[in-house]
């Protein structure tokens, strides 16, 4: 799966591929074989080319991570494909006249809202599965659902409109 690190106004790609004992990571074009032991949720032991790192990752908000290491805390802004799509939607779901689109090709596993329903910021709308991962798409502001364009089991293309909103109430 591909992510983007936002740093110094650059988008640095980082690609992860799962391996039996960890990941192959391609960070800004450089390949790392990463042995990864998940000690507890958010706490990892990483072995990279023999170098050992213990890291604790904490996230206060989507896309923003504090990575605690022995020599210091690093702040990492990292976007998933989903985050990237949401960002490009000028405020994302919930904004006036906004809609939620599929961040990647996949299958709709669950529809959590119906037409005419009021939703609150952060409320789950649709769950899309892609690459064996389920992503719950959430409202980024308070709004009323106007149309639900998909049903459970539908296959969707990247960028397909899933839910549209009528009168935006607030947020976005």
């Amino acid at each position: 799966m591909r992510f983007w690190i936002i740093r110094d106004e650059r988008q640095i790609p980082v690609e992860l591929e799962e391996r039996p004992e960890g990941y192959t990571a391609v960070l800004d074009g450089v390949t790392y074989e990463v042995g990864c032991a998940r000690i507890l949720d958010g706490l990892y032991s990483l072995l990279m080319g023999g170098e050992s790192y213990e890291v604790a990752v904490h996230s206060h908000e989507p896309g923003s991570y504090d990575v605690h290491m022995y020599d210091g805390v690093r702040h990492v802004d990292l976007l998933s494909p989903l985050d990237l799509v949401l960002r490009s939607q000028h405020g994302g779901p919930g904004a006036h006249g906004g809609s939620v689109r599929a961040p990647m090709p996949g299958k709709v596993v669950k529809v959590l809202v119906e037409e005419g329903q009021s939703v609150l910021k952060g409320q789950g709308l649709v769950v899309v599965e892609a690459m064996k991962m389920q992503n719950e798409l959430q409202a980024s502001g308070d709004a009323v659902v106007q149309h639900v364009r998909v049903r459970e089991g539908d296959s969707v293309e990247s960028g397909a409109e899933l839910v549209t909103f009528g009168g935006a109430l607030e947020g976005g």
Partner: protein
């Protein structure tokens, strides 16, 4: 004999006092505000009672509630810790009046040292060196020149009526004094409507060095060596050590004797600290006395092997000091770093919030005094200091190396702390060289040069792995704040 003590405090110091009590086989009583129901001092104590709502004025400063709790539960003594009621002479008086032992000095000693100008006069009268100068306004450039000659250059001219740097002039030599006097005087007149100016010896690049003393009710008073506390940010101590790299055995004895004289002059009992302003040549001047246990008392304990809280309790019981001056030896070196929940990247803004996970350092020569625990709240109502990391070494270099190791292991996840800033201080070449003065932090760490860890591949990849694993669970990449994670629960047990 005291067999039950109420601790009128919270946080790490309440925990520390409680531990001494348990070592001594004395029952401990915690008091807590409504914000502290889950706090560590409540859980570790033998008994605990709520004394009021979260604001300190209604709880930890509430004399009525604390005294009535002490009497109701049968505590013979109250240990005030530091801060809160510890230096309040009215509280010490009320304890005495109501038949509860105040673990600290007599009210009179607190009062005498509490009024800073009066304390200065008292100390000068007792032969304790104070910064030389005049406290009466000077009436002419000639009088200024005369006073400067007595005080010794460089001198500082100061407006009698005000502060904030207005009407202040640093004068390096006799050639400048007359014009500096006229400038300072006219500036003071403009700023405060009063041109009166007085003069003091200027202490250039001062160091803050303090002397720990112990005094009992039988006329015994000893000193336990100094602590250097020059690493300060806005008058708040950040890193302390004992001994001081500046102090020689001869200077220690001389400072110690002066400190004992100062304590005797006010009829002091219990543990106390005399703070000195020290110039780079080692000449020292009385600044003030802290009539309580200090935050940084642990470094003295580490190099002397003396439990200061135990001594305080024994003195409060009426026992004589358990040791004489010649029994006190300084062994090795100790340092303390204060961990604050604050963000050095945002002008040290305090960061109250929930601690997601804590990992405390372990291993040889490391002591941690802390009340932080996983899932604990850093309350907006109280001080943002969450822990003290204390290390010992056979010498200063070894001690600093161990401090570096301990800080690396120290981790609080979920809120910002000054840990990385402390690491940068402890590893700074000027710190390692012992080149300390109270201007150390502003000189070496101005806002623009706050240390930021440079990006490393492992951190970027770790963030990506975390985001990936979170998304696989079908949740958004940010875990809900309320969900306790396994690592929150399991890491370091319940600390």
């Amino acid at each position: 004999m005291i067999n039950k003590v109420l601790i009128a405090n919270r946080g790490e110091i309440a925990v520390r006092i409680l531990r001494a009590l348990r070592d001594m086989g004395i029952a401990s009583v915690a008091v807590y505000s409504e914000a502290d129901r889950a706090a560590r001092h409540v859980r570790l104590a033998d008994e605990a009672y709520c004394i009021g709502p979260p604001p300190s004025a209604q709880s930890y400063l509430n004399m009525d509630a604390i005294l009535s709790t002490a009497k109701a539960c049968g505590a013979q003594a109250i240990h005030p810790g530091y801060g809160f009621l510890s230096e309040n002479p009215l509280f010490a008086e009320r304890c005495e009046k109501e038949g509860v032992i105040f673990v600290g000095p007599p009210a009179g000693a607190i009062r005498a040292m509490g009024e800073k100008t009066r304390a200065r006069q008292l100390m000068a009268a007792a032969g304790v060196p104070v910064v030389p100068g005049t406290l009466v306004p000077l009436d002419s450039p000639e009088a200024a020149e005369e006073a400067a000659k007595t005080a010794g250059y460089p001198v500082m001219l100061k407006a009698a009526a005000g502060g904030g740097g207005k009407g202040m002039r640093l004068v390096e030599s006799r050639a400048q004094i007359a014009s500096a006097f006229r400038d300072a005087s006219s500036e003071a007149l403009k700023a405060f409507g009063d041109g009166s100016v007085y003069l003091e010896r200027a202490v250039v690049r001062p160091r803050h060095i303090e002397m720990q003393i112990l005094a009992d009710g039988h006329g015994n008073c000893i000193y336990l060596g100094e602590r250097e506390c020059s690493i300060q940010r806005r008058h708040q101590k950040v890193v302390e050590e004992a001994p001081s790299p500046l102090v020689t055995p001869v200077m220690r004895a001389s400072m110690g004797e002066v400190a004992v004289r100062a304590a005797r002059a006010v009829g002091y009992q219990s543990a106390g600290t005399i703070e000195f302003l020290v110039d780079q040549s080692g000449e020292f001047f009385f600044m003030e006395m802290n009539t309580r246990l200090q935050v940084e008392h642990a470094v003295t304990e580490m190099v002397t092997g003396i439990d200061l809280v135990r001594e305080q309790i024994r003195i409060a019981e009426g026992a004589p000091l358990s040791l004489r001056q010649e029994d006190v030896t300084i062994m090795g070196w100790a340092m303390e770093c204060r961990i604050y929940a604050e963000d050095p990247q945002r002008n040290f803004l305090p960061c109250p919030g929930t601690i997601h996970a804590v990992r405390l350092p372990e291993g040889p020569n490391v002591r941690v005094d802390s009340a932080a625990f996983t899932r604990g709240e850093i309350s907006m109502f109280y001080d943002p200091m969450v822990a003290k990391v204390i290390t010992w070494g056979s010498g200063r270099d070894a001690c600093a190396a161990t401090m570096n190791r301990a800080l690396m292991e120290f981790q609080i996840v979920g809120t910002h702390t000054n840990r990385d800033f402390l690491l940068a201080i402890v590893n700074h070449p000027a710190f390692r060289a012992g080149a300390l003065d109270t201007g150390f932090i502003p000189r070496h760490f101005s806002g623009a040069s706050m240390p930021v860890s440079s990006p490393v591949a492992a951190a970027d990849i770790a963030a990506a792995i975390y985001a990936y694993e979170s998304s696989r669970k079908g949740t958004s990449t940010a875990p809900p704040q309320s969900a306790p994670s396994a690592w929150r629960r399991a890491m370091m047990g319940d600390r």
